[in-house]
Every structure is written in structure tokens, then in C-alpha cells.
């Protein structure tokens, strides 16, 4: 698939601020796309996504480059720190009234079933690799169009699940890779505070294989609905 065209069309048809982001999870060093360097500085996964989206930064991040080990961990890069996997951090942070509730949530967070070496990021239209998921940060109306475009092919309904924590890592990337189904998520304290995702923006993760049909549908909507 030529992502150059798809990336461009997605941006234009939806009127996105920034680019859709191609994200790939590389199993080993050999799996990394040729010519890609490590990301310029250590940060969090959500930041890497924002950087690719807004400043066109490409690169890959191994466990060392991931400052947020929780984000890396759910994606299968390194282990999930215990204080996160037991829920105690989120309990202390105030997200949950009881430790049991915290544990219930963290147990159900989508987690990668395989382990990976690094995550790779690029704006979609200039990605030189086959992404595992495409992350789009959009306004609710843009998300509406995307949802309608996804359902245009086969109909049905969309169910999105999230828990207000680990949004860009677990909900937008891992859940979509594991299930092969788009997911919408509303961000989390970490991602919104640290990366500047706007109050009026939401996040969607889309399986690459759905994109051609989505683009077609968006074009049809553009003709019919303006």
C-alpha cells in the first residue's frame, strides 16, 4: 500500500491538524526500517506520537528511550513496572477509590501478547514501513467522519473502550493491534498534560488494512455531504 497518498488524503479529507501517525512495533533490531535512527531524545510514547504528528519527527525508541516504562510495557517493550501492574500508582494518584478497583482496571488494560524490541514512529504520508496501527488525533467531528467511514463498508456499530489511563499506548496502539479493530480513546492525564493534546481532541487507532476503504468512504461523504 502506498501510504504517501493515503496519508495525504486522510489529512485533506478530514482537515486534520498535523499528520496521522504510523506506528510499528519491531520484534528485533533487524525488524527496524532501513535508515531509521533512534528518536532524538528520551521521552514518552505519547510524546513520540505527537512529535511525529506535529513536527514530522521519525525514529524508533527502545526500552532505554522510553521514559514511561508503563507505556513501553503494555506495548511489550520491557516489563510493566510492578507499581503500575498492581494498580497501586493509579490508586495513590486518586484515579480509583479502592485498590481493588485500581487492580480491576489495570488487569483489563489491553496488553501486548508478544514482546518487542522497539516502537517506530513516522508521519503516515512519509512512512517507509508497513505500520501496525495508524494513530489519528482528531476533533470529535473528525472522529465522527472516521467512524462513519469505517462503518460505511460493512455497517454495524462501533464499540470503543478506554479507562482514562494509558490511552495512547494501550487503547490506541495495543488494543488495535491485538484485535484488528479500530478503537477510540479520550487520552489520559499523562498524555494530555505532557504532550499538549488539546482539550477538544480525541485519539483513534486504526488498523492499516481499513484505510483504503475509509478513504473511499470519506470521498463519498465529501461529495454527498460537503
Amino acid at each position: 500500500m502506498s501510504y504517501e497518498k493515503i496519508g495525504q488524503e486522510l489529512k485533506e479529507l478530514l482537515g486534520l491538524r498535523g499528520s496521522p501517525v504510523a506506528v510499528k512495533l519491531a520484534k528485533t533490531g533487524a525488524d527496524l526500517p532501513a535508515g531509521y535512527q533512534k528518536v532524538p531524545e528520551k521521552s514518552r510514547h505519547c510524546q513520540f506520537v505527537q512529535n511525529a504528528r506535529l513536527t514530522g519527527t521519525k525514529g524508533y525508541a527502545t526500552l532505554d528511550e522510553h521514559m514511561c516504562k508503563g507505556g513501553a510495557g503494555v506495548m511489550g517493550i520491557g516489563p510493566i513496572p510492578e507499581h503500575l501492574s498492581t494498580g497501586s500508582t493509579f490508586h495513590k494518584l486518586g484515579n480509583f477509590r479502592t485498590a481493588e478497583g485500581a487492580l480491576d482496571t489495570v488487569s483489563a488494560i489491553p496488553k501486548s501478547t508478544e514482546s518487542y524490541y522497539a516502537s517506530v514512529y513516522s508521519p503516515l504520508e512519509s512512512a517507509e514501513f508497513e505500520p501496525d496501527v495508524v494513530v489519528v488525533i482528531a476533533t470529535p467531528k473528525q472522529a465522527l467522519r472516521l467512524s462513519q467511514a469505517y462503518l460505511h463498508e460493512l455497517g454495524g456499530r462501533i464499540s470503543s473502550d478506554y479507562s482514562g489511563i494509558q490511552s495512547l499506548c494501550a487503547d490506541a496502539v495495543v488494543a488495535v493491534i491485538e484485535r484488528g479493530v479500530p478503537n477510540m480513546t479520550l487520552g489520559c492525564n499523562g498524555s494530555r498534560k505532557n504532550t499538549g493534546i488539546a482539550d477538544e481532541e480525541v485519539i483513534l487507532g486504526i488498523p492499516p488494512r481499513n484505510l483504503p476503504a475509509i478513504i473511499e468512504a470519506l470521498k463519498i461523504f465529501s461529495e454527498k455531504w460537503g
Binding site: D104, E178, G180, P182
Partner: protein, 278 residues
């Protein structure tokens, strides 16, 4: 192939909506899908399955519910090994499992629990698992699930168990006595002792035969054999050798069990077993 997706925490009806979308997005419509759901979330799965032409089966998996959606018409393979004797059943089952994709299941119907135990041994030895076992009507059954054989971990092994392969039977008194005296010593040293009677050794398994062996300096062999069995030694007799000699399950000495080739192979190839031949 079987695809397993953990969707715990998602309640009905969203679980069903998600399942619907997963199926729609599948590349291979021949694949079985398994969803791991929180209890209660399986409500609505039946409708999704029917809509797409799948059959649904649910079962418990730890604290979660496992919902298996199988393309209809593609049911679990079954094999009936009743009427066949060792090593036929083990080989037949082994061949089918070797060809199965990981995660797929096979149901095996057998007449006796001994044949089944042998098949269990063979299944586990190849790395696969047994997910269900029991009695159904007039026969026994098990359900095996193919899994990847895990990499062997090299380990320093304590050899605390002894396997005695006895192939000379009642026609050689010295070897027969050695078998049980050796077992006695092993048991007294705290070792786990297993005796596998094969070929002529099967003769020892028949009620009354060991009484034919007597050396002036020792007690009658059947007395010694009984002592050893009561002291905890496990005694197996090769099903094929027994059949060769017209020995059936009802002819066996108390405490001796029929076993098949898979059991023997497993005993021989387990590095924790010290093997001696008599």
C-alpha cells in the same frame, strides 16, 4: 489457526459489538477465534456467532469466560481408537496432532482408561496439552489441544528415579530375581522405582506365573514381587507384549497396569530416570 483475544473488562453489549467487528476484519474466515471475557460479557455472543455462521462454545478459563467461535462445518476433529491396540492409537493420534495448527483441538475416543493414559503421556510429551478427559457413555475420551513444544531447558537433574526394563520374564530366574531385589534396594534408598515389563517380561505380569520361579536360596518370586509392589514400585506391562502372549487386563497381577509404547518412551527419554535392563 486459532486467534485468542483478551477483552476482559468490556461488558455486554459492547463485547458483542467488538466481536462483530473483529470477525468482519478477519483475513481468514476459516480461523477459530477465542475471546477471553469477563463473566457476563458472553451475553450476546451467540447472536454474533450465528450472524456470521460460527458455532459458539463457552467455558471457564480461570476467572474469565472463554468464548470459542468456530466456523460452522469446521468442528473439532475426532478420532475413535476403540478396537485398535498399542501402538496403533498412539501413532494415529500423534500423526493427527502433528499436523494440527497450534490451538486446534482433537477429541480421542478410547475403550479403556489404560489406552487413554498412554495417549495422555504421548500428547504431553510432544508439548501439547490435555484440556478435558472423562467417561462418556460406554467409552473414555480426552480432548487434546495442540501447543508448541517448549524449548528444552538444560538443567542439572537429580536422578532419584529408577526405571527397570524387564524383558526376560519367567524363563530366566536370575534376571527375574534381580529385577525385584534391585527394586527393593532402590525403594529402601528412597528412590522412585518403576518396572516396565516388556516382551518375555510380560510373562511376569500374569497372575500365578511368578510362582513358577523359585531358587533354593530365595523366597518364591511371586512373594518378592508382591512385596515390591506393596512397597510402592509402579509396575507396567507392555500392552503389545501382553497381547502377543494372550494376557489380558483381567489376567494381571494385582497392582500391575497395562501401558503402551508412549509410556515406555517417556520413561526412557526422561533424563531424570536412571534406566537399567534386566
Amino acid at each position: 489457526m486459532v486467534k485468542t483475544i483478551n477483552v476482559q473488562g468490556i461488558r455486554a453489549p459492547n463485547s458483542g459489538i467488538l466481536a462483530d467487528n473483529v470477525i468482519k476484519n478477519m483475513d481468514n474466515s476459516d480461523e477459530e477465534i477465542r475471546f477471553l471475557l469477563s463473566p457476563g460479557a458472553e451475553v450476546g455472543m451467540e447472536a454474533v456467532a450465528r450472524k456470521h455462521g460460527y458455532t459458539l462454545e463457552t467455558s471457564k478459563s480461570g476467572d474469565l469466560i472463554e468464548a470459542r467461535l468456530m466456523p460452522t462445518g469446521k468442528t473439532m476433529q475426532e478420532i475413535d481408537v476403540r478396537g485398535d491396540f498399542c501402538p496403533g492409537p498412539v501413532i494415529a493420534v500423534g500423526n493427527i496432532i502433528a499436523a494440527l495448527p497450534v490451538g486446534e483441538r482433537l477429541k480421542v475416543k478410547a475403550a479403556g482408561s489404560d489406552t487413554l493414559e498412554d495417549i495422555v503421556m504421548a500428547v504431553k510429551s510432544s508439548g501439547s496439552g490435555v484440556v478435558d478427559q472423562g467417561v462418556e457413555g460406554d467409552h473414555h475420551y480426552l480432548i487434546a489441544e495442540k501447543a508448541e513444544k517448549p524449548e528444552a531447558v538444560s538443567a542439572i537433574v537429580n536422578r532419584d528415579s529408577v526405571v527397570i526394563a524387564q524383558s526376560s520374564g519367567i524363563g530366566n530366574a536370575e534376571r527375574a530375581y534381580a529385577t525385584f531385589l534391585f527394586s527393593k534396594v532402590g525403594l529402601s534408598m528412597g528412590k522412585k522405582v518403576t518396572i516396565f515389563l516388556l516382551m518375555d517380561g510380560a510373562g511376569l505380569a500374569k497372575k500365578g506365573n511368578a510362582a513358577c520361579v523359585k531358587h533354593p536360596e530365595f523366597e518364591r518370586l511371586d512373594v518378592l514381587m508382591d512385596e515390591v509392589i506393596k512397597a510402592g514400585a509402579k509396575v507396567y506391562v507392555c500392552e503389545l507384549s501382553a497381547k502377543f502372549r494372550g494376557i489380558g487386563p483381567r489376567d494381571l497381577v494385582e497392582g500391575v497396569r497395562l501401558a503402551g509404547a508412549a509410556t515406555y518412551l517417556e520413561l526412557m527419554s526422561n533424563p531424570a530416570n536412571a534406566v537399567v535392563n534386566f
